[in-house]
Amino acid sequence: MSQTVFAPWTDPAAKPLIRFKNVTKRFGTFTAIEELTLDIYEREFFALLGPSGCGKTTMMRMLAGFEDPTEGSIELAGEDIVKVPPNQRAVNMMFQSYALFPHLTVRDNIAFGLKRERKPRDEVDARVEEMLRLVQLQPFASRKPHQISGGQRQRVALARSLAKAPKLLLLDEPLGALDKKLREETQFELMDIQEKTGTTFVIVTHDQEEAMTVASRIAVMKDGALMQVATPSQIYENPNSRYVAGFIGDVTILEGKATKLGDAYEVRWAEGQPPLRAKSTLDLADGAECQLAIRPEKVEIHGEKPSDDNVLQGKVIDIGYLGNISTYHVELANGQIIRAQNFNTERDTRRAFTWDDNVWVNWTENCAVLLDH
């Protein structure tokens, strides 16, 4: 059996499930979304990621039907849904506050949407049982929402929004109220459920780790615009801007001027420091302003000067021990701090480097990302 990679966005023949076309949304004089165009495909787990106020929740509310775009159109499976009221859309939403009905039991909460469709009773009951099984809540079916834990409430909300088998499920910060450990477990559960049900998920989150874990593609948003839409690894390894590089993961940014040198660029970035080489497909004029983004885990740290490219000398000023990894803050002679991460692969070994040690850091020319804005 040949394993085909799930990437409908690379297939020009694929029809998107959702299509935002030049969507603008204004609240009074405030523009929440500006001229936004975006395609989301069937079976995708799509994450809208950004700080609060970036417009990600507005996008989701427009999909659910609680807000109308000021301009532009939104299509679901080829049909314009702008004029369709929320109760007639094949879209369900899991609310950030869960919005469970406090006067109904877990079972009745899950059955709520099904009962509105006036389906036969045994059909509704069977579907509710199926949903209870999916989220493993059968023992709690007769309890009221205030009688179960936060994690269980989250699962009831998920089951309720999946019960009608929507074409599209919207998740508004679904794990925001859970503690870290439960959140991580639930992320994998969510992915599992998404795969089992084959539903298209759109998740809104401000937690980059969450987006990286669950999503097939991530849209990084800022001030009502999309900064980059790509797979998690592309976003992480090939950010297209300083903003995206800084928003996802840890990064050290060095500013300088680029000079083309074969298939790479040489970046002169500070007096008295050697120029740095970085491979890039960007087309920059000689002497153009640019930034180098370097992820800490790509930076090696040495006690002796290595003979490679991109070597900088400095002093360890801070060590952050996280158990599995340690982060070293290395201060160069010009005051610039470079972060380097080492995996602690062995137990009880004395750290190779300590405070005030004189060290060399380096990375390969493939590892640094050249950015032009």
């Binding site: 039907g65 109760n87 879209v91 919005a99 509105r116 929004s161």
Partner: protein
């Protein structure tokens, strides 16, 4: 010691202002009418002793209440008027509370103030003012005749309709405020969730808003029903000879007939009838507190 005082205070209050007066009324209800001052006997005296005193008390007045059908008819009529008034007040009060809860945040204190404002004038004067509105030559009839809705003045004053108008007007704030409190707490995303799951606006209202404001509806209904049951001022100012309410009967027994023992018996029975809704009301409040806790 300080703790004891703190706990003792409400008990002393209850004893002095409720239990002792209640015991006095109960004693009078078991006494016989007398042409004396006070107009009942026996009076307790130390010479005869407590045994002789107690032996003179009997349930004669309570038996009397069952022989004259005026009394049970008055109780039933009061229950009916209180129940109808409560439903009317709910129908008038709920939309007002709903409108207040959905009004812009900045308006709400003003709206709340407007609801409470009538309390700043004497209740008696406000009810009396309705006579001027509802009488044959009153403002209401003038306006209706002037606009041509009616050609003959309506007889409203001194009927049960005037009593209903008076009760709804007087007790409306007691209905609005608890319902408003319940609706104000209602999380707007619940309505959105209901719509998201396929409800129309209207069915979301019946399936989510109404059930979640139920504690407020129940509290408001009891707050109207309980005082209306024993209401005296409104039926005597606005009601007519056909308006039979136990509060009026009580007044007549006390002040027109000067039959204190029978009047006290009427009052004791009224109190016993009121205990049922009061206990239910307390249960509702307690359940609500638990649900929120």
């Amino acid at each position: 010691m300080r703790r004891f005082l703190l706990i003792a205070f409400p008990y002393v209050w209850l004893l002095a202002l409720f239990l002792i007066p209640f015991a006095i009324v109960l004693k009078i209800s078991l006494s016989d009418v007398a042409l004396a001052r006070p107009p009942y006997m026996p009076q307790f005296s130390w010479d005869e002793g407590i045994g002789a005193f107690l032996s003179q008390l009997d349930f004669e007045n309570f038996t009397f209440l069952t022989t004259d059908d005026l009394y049970w008819k008055a109780y039933l009529s009061s229950l009916k008027i209180a129940a109808i008034s409560t439903v009317l007040t709910l129908f008038v009060g709920y939309p007002i509370a709903y409108g207040m809860a959905r009004a812009p945040e900045a308006w709400r204190p003003t709206l709340m103030m407007l609801v409470i404002l009538p309390f700043w004038t004497s209740f008696l004067i406000r009810v009396y003012a309705w006579r001027g509105i509802l009488s044959q030559e009153g403002y209401l009839n003038q306006v209706l005749m002037w606009t041509g809705v009616i050609s003959e003045p309506l007889t409203i004053l001194n009927t049960n309709i005037a009593v209903y108008i008076g009760v709804v007007y007087t007790y409306l704030p007691f209905m609005i405020l608890p319902i408003y409190a319940a609706l104000d707490r209602l999380d707007g995303s619940l309505i959105e969730a209901a719509e998201d799951l396929g409800c129309s606006r209207r069915s979301a209202f019946w399936l989510v808003t109404i059930p979640l404001s139920r504690p407020g509806i129940i509290a408001g209904s009891f707050l109207v029903f309980i005082p209306t049951l024993g209401e005296f001022v409104i039926p005597s100012l606005l009601g007519g000879s056909g308006t039979l309410m136990i509060g009026k009967v009580l007044w007549e027994e006390f002040f027109n007939n000067r039959d204190w023992p029978v009047a006290s018996a009427v009052a004791i029975i009224l109190l016993l009838i009121l205990i049922v809704p009061i206990v239910l009301f307390q249960k509702n409040q307690q359940r609500q507190a638990e649900a929120e806790g």
